[in-house]
Symmetry: C2
Subunit: 283 residues, 2 copies
């Protein structure tokens, strides 16, 4: 493998580039991005060696697509049109069903591997890229059987070097499960932040009292709306289901409080407390 | 100051003891706790020098009350009954109105200072106690004018040594504001944890996909229900108000999704995004 093209040199694309470059300094990494500032930053941060365009993709051994999921859905077929018969194309999107559907009948479907590395921070852009971001993290691979054997192997070699643990799922199961452990957390954080910001408009200095607990719970509200709006759009049905369940649980908790039923308030919390053990090992 | 009595040698009482002991090794620290295992742990961890009982409190220069807020409400008048005219009694409860009300007419009201150090972790007990937990954190002091000048000064000396920043508020304002930046975050985390745990009962391996974002958002669901049930009980009206607003915001978000109004989904997130700047400096 000589030439890697990263489409979208942000947090995820940039972090993948950093890991590959560290482990294989001889590989040339090309960056493609419609955001010229990101491209310039990625160059000056040495995340990429050179900038490139879609017209160069026929030279790629590997193309990594790490752009918002709505853009992936549109551009992925065009990218497959342009690459060679030997090129591996990987995406890293937080939804999988729409993306897999967008290329299901593409003549180069076997060149594509659908993945979702479960790693990231609340920041975005090449300046947020981190070496070792994926080490010890889970990478979900969907429809592995639709990718050519040789290209599967090429992908696994890279993911193993990056220290990731593979999980194989179908796209619908991925989207359903990830709505619970990722998409809902983001909405919960955004709306918690909104509730407190709205209050502070009338009651000053509320944030002066905020401690580490609040900061942790609301951290994901720093995330990029440009990235998250298309995710919620593509995973609409599952996300609405999680929101219904979450709102029902909150409403039940409130009703216990209104009824002075603090025995059930205690029970609600105690039965959730074993999340301590479940979360062990997740950093 | 020679003799300090810590009532409740858990995370908060233990961490205060550690800071005081480090800065004043000659001070004797006595521990009072109905939990014998906690007392034994506090002794073996050298958080306290000796165990003691309520009957010894007349010897105290300073009494720190760091027990669940329902126990504080009941025991604080008894503690004030037992201490000398020169003793300073401080509580560290997460609610302030009920506690201040419980001693408003006590003949030794001037010996008491109501405080809420905004620090902690999701863990509890003396093993969770940390040196330096309060450094750079906010300490809310309520009804300072009701405490004897000399004793105010003694308290401030200790808090300053511990590196805390003082904020003065009345108990009602404290309870209202803290409902937003602390109590609501705990309920949001507990119910998020509950929602995902319920789902996993039918859909296995959901947690295997959880990343750092979920872990951060749900972290407070590890907190002790023994500590939090009485807090929600004492701050019922304010907490219900925050829950109503939070549920409304979540419902509105869901309705935008149902209506395919992703422009407003974007706007909801973007208008909350400046929480980045607000949270700067909160660890």
């Amino acid at each position: 493998m000589k030439n890697i093209y990263i489409i979208g040199v942000g947090l995820i694309g940039g972090s993948i580039a950093k890991d590959i470059k560290k482990l294989n300094p001889d590989i040339m990494i090309y960056g493609v991005d419609k955001n010229k500032i990101h491209l310039k930053d990625a160059l000056s941060l040495k995340i990429i060696d050179k900038t490139a365009t879609f017209e160069d993709l026929h030279k790629a051994d590997l193309v990594i697509v790490s752009i918002p999921v709505d853009a992936t859905e549109i551009l992925l077929p065009e990218i497959l049109d342009k690459v060679s018969e030997e090129t591996l194309v990987i995406d890293s999107g937080s939804t999988k069903a729409s993306i897999c559907k967008a290329v299901e009948n593409h003549p180069k479907r076997r060149n594509f591997l659908a993945t979702h590395p479960i790693a990231g921070t609340e920041f975005s852009g090449p300046k947020a890229a981190l070496e070792g971001l994926f080490k010890g993290k889970t990478n979900i691979i969907c429809e592995v059987e639709k990718t050519a054997f040789k290209l599967q192997e090429r992908a696994l070699t890279i993911f193993k070097i990056m220290g990731m643990n593979m999980r194989y799922m179908n796209p619908d199961a991925h989207d359903k499960h990830i709505a619970y452990v990722s998409h809902l957390s983001h909405i919960s954080a955004f709306m918690l932040g909104k509730t407190v910001i709205e209050k502070e408009k009338n009651e000053r200095d509320i944030f002066d009292l905020a401690g580490s607990g609040f900061a942790s719970t609301v951290r994901l509200a720093k995330s990029s709306p440009h990235m998250w709006t298309p995710i919620f759009k593509q995973n609409k049905t599952n996300v609405i289901e999680t929101l219904n369940e979450y709102i029902n649980n909150l409403t039940k908790f409130k009703e216990f409080m209104e009824a002075d039923n603090f025995e059930d308030i205690f029970n609600e919390m105690e039965s959730t407390n074993h999340i301590k053990d479940i979360l062990k090992g997740i950093q």
